[in-house]
């Protein structure tokens, strides 16, 4: 985490608004002056607030998930990042360049070379082969045919579709089609990939498989991604950090663990209520301070407890406690015991709450 915090910011959104409608400008002013709500803006100006005062930062090498239900503005937000939609106000910088300042060829270059995009509908051109589809981005850039097909072939190999290059998209299953979509985005070798609910239409098993493949591929290639989803499980599986959106507002940004342990409001709390904590919450979040624990349980020798590291998840910890028959597990970091995890603490972790006070250890 700390290494990531230090790394460079690739996408920087500052107070970005998007208001749809003919009176967007007036509506925006009224929001600033009178603090109108989304509903009031709709009634008074018949304008729809898509994104409201969003500020996010996506860092190099990070997979940033934006989770929200339909109508939450997540699809609008991702389209602001490559300017398929113009923001009503605010500033979006990608790789240090202000998007609103890019004109004509500069904007085309930015989209063609630095930002790839994968769509929920896949959008494979039906009259072209899989290989030609994968080469589409390079074709648009004017790369010679032989060269672009070679690169597209490599991209297809990455997603395991080498044998399907000569087929038409309709001959492929939904999951395979979305792999082609990913290969098409990767072929142009952009540093940033925008994923607009790419796996939503797939059945659960294929979806999980693609999620894992996408995550490992992105990490292996050192890409950064913004991943839109309406599925919190998916966001947790894929994302290094997650932003939760509701009614155009980014309600909370954090790692899955941070969001589950400290939901920003009741809405987020409701959302995370059904999420399994077993692999999400780590030892460092549920452990007791060793000195305090020693005072509360003087009869137990801390040094004799089984040991683990701070990033061990609850599932692993439960296994250790059950297997060892001991009172708890010592958490060791840098050769020093930094905490103790007890069965009680684990139970609280499973429910998604931080450990309670030690009087009840």
């Amino acid at each position: 985490m700390s290494a990531m915090a230090a790394s460079e910011v690739l996408i920087d959104c500052q107070s970005v608004w998007k208001v749809f409608g003919d009176n967007a400008r007036a509506a925006l002013r009224a929001i600033a002056d009178r603090g109108l709500s989304k509903t009031e803006v709709l009634q008074e100006f018949s304008c729809v607030v898509g994104v409201s005062d969003a500020s996010i930062q996506v860092r190099r090498g990070e997979i940033f998930c934006v989770m929200g239900l339909s109508g939450s503005g997540k699809s609008t937000l991702i389209r602001l990042l490559n300017r398929l939609i113009e923001p009503s106000s605010g500033r979006i910088t990608v790789k240090g360049q202000d998007l609103s300042g890019l004109r004509g060829q500069a904007l085309r270059d930015m989209r063609a070379k630095h930002i790839g995009m994968v769509f929920q509908s896949v959008a494979l051109l039906p009259h072209r082969t899989v290989l030609e589809n994968a080469a589409f981005g390079l074709e648009v850039q004017g790369v010679a045919r032989a060269r672009r097909l070679e690169v597209a072939r490599e991209a297809l190999a990455r997603v395991g579709l080498s044998d399907w290059a000569g087929r038409l998209p309709r001959e492929l299953s939904g999951g395979m089609q979305q792999r082609v979509g990913l290969a098409r985005a990767l072929a142009a070798d952009p540093e940033i990939i925008l994923m607009d609910e790419p796996f939503s239409a797939l059945d659960p098993l294929i979806r999980r498989q693609l999620q894992d493949e996408f995550r490992s591929l992105t990490k292996e290639l050192g890409k950064s991604a913004v991943f839109i989803t309406h599925d919190l499980d998916e966001a947790i599986r894929i994302g290094d950090r997650i932003a939760i959106m509701r009614d155009g507002v980014i309600v909370q940004v954090g790692t899955a663990e941070e969001i589950v342990l400290n939901p920003a409001d009741g809405y987020v709390a409701d959302f995370v209520a059904g999420i399994s904590r077993l692999h999400l919450i780590k030892a460092h979040s549920v452990m007791y301070e060793p000195a305090a624990w020693a005072r509360a349980r003087p009869e137990v020798d801390v040094g004799a407890l089984p040991r683990t590291h701070p990033e061990a998840d609850i599932d692993a910890l439960i296994g250790m406690v059950v297997g060892s028959g001991q009172e708890g597990v010592a958490v060791v970091d840098g050769g020093r015991i930094v905490g103790v995890v007890t069965p009680r603490g684990l139970l609280q972790g499973v429910r998604g709450t931080a450990p309670a006070d030690l009087s009840v250890v």
Binding site: N82, L84, R108, R111, K113, M117, A123, L125, H127, V140
Partner: protein, 280 residues
């Protein structure tokens, strides 16, 4: 009667307008006549220069390649029948009329259709004119055309062009304007240039619609070149018109059969081409 006076004034204005056009735009209409007649003569020569069996053989091969061997055989047989009825020259004249009229109609309707597909204002402006063309009885175009272009194939061609214009224009505009949003976004997200968006995305998606329009225009053109027999178009239309005047039922039926054969052959061939294009 004020109404009668008004109607009279209106009629005078129409005739005066036509006269004025004839007097002042004579050069323009001469040029139009020469262009139409020139292309027509060329196409007609091309179709009549080879013997009928060569053209029938061509239809056989084209029909076989585009639709299927059975249709190819029927097309060749049908054209042979036209020749057997002694109507080969007329049949080819009619084909030349349709082809010429289509060339000019498509030269106007396809670019305009593309423009209307891109610019809703153009589409809105064209809509009433197209409605008018499609609702007026097609005979109506013959009279002003005679006044301006004289008796002969040029008049028939001009009237046919007008009638054949709307379907191709409408369906081209529809096809170009209805590109699925996700593919527009795909293009934009890849930094596509405007002409690439047209050639690589909008046109392929519009192809089936455009070809349906071309096919419809072709059918309109066939209907019109027969009617245009009245103004001395030549071809089967004039044969039928002559047969009607002399109550020669047998000849009129022969000519009708020839028209049906020609229409079916061209209809199926263009539809077959459209299907192939849509599949490719």
């Amino acid at each position: 009667m004020a109404d009668a006076a008004f109607i009279e004034a209106f009629d005078d204005a129409v005739e005066g307008g036509l006269d004025w056009l004839d007097d002042h735009g004579g050069g323009v209409f001469d040029a139009i006549r020469h262009a139409l007649a020139g292309v027509y003569d060329g196409v007609e020569w091309l179709l009549l220069a080879p013997p009928f069996w060569a053209v029938a053989a061509l239809a056989l091969v084209a029909g076989w390649r585009v639709v299927g061997w059975r249709f190819g055989g029927l097309a060749a047989l049908g054209l042979g029948l036209c020749a057997a009825m002694g109507l080969w020259a007329e049949t080819m004249e009619t084909l030349a009329l349709v082809v010429t009229a289509m060339v000019f109609a498509l030269l106007v309707s396809l670019p305009l259709g593309v423009l209307a597909g891109y610019v809703p204002a153009v589409k809105r402006a064209a809509e009433p004119a197209l409605d008018l063309i499609q609702t007026l009885p097609p005979y109506l175009y013959l009279l002003p055309a005679i006044a301006l272009l004289g008796y002969g194939p040029a008049t028939a061609l001009a009237a046919t062009c007008i009638v054949a214009l709307p379907p191709a224009l409408r369906l081209t505009a529809l096809g170009i304007g209805r590109t699925p949003q996700e593919f527009i976004e795909l293009g934009q997200a890849n930094g596509i240039r405007p002409w690439q968006m047209f050639a690589k995305i909008r046109l392929p998606f519009a192809f089936a619609s455009i070809m349906a329009g071309v096919n419809q225009s072709l059918m309109m053109a066939f209907g019109m070149v027969v009617i245009a027999g009245i103004v001395g178009s030549g071809g089967l239309g004039e044969t039928i018109y002559g047969a009607i005047r002399t109550l020669d039922i047998a000849t009129s039926v022969d000519a009708s059969v020839a028209i049906v054969v020609l229409t079916i052959v061209l209809d199926r061939l263009t539809q077959g081409l459209a299907d192939r294009g849509a599949r490719a």
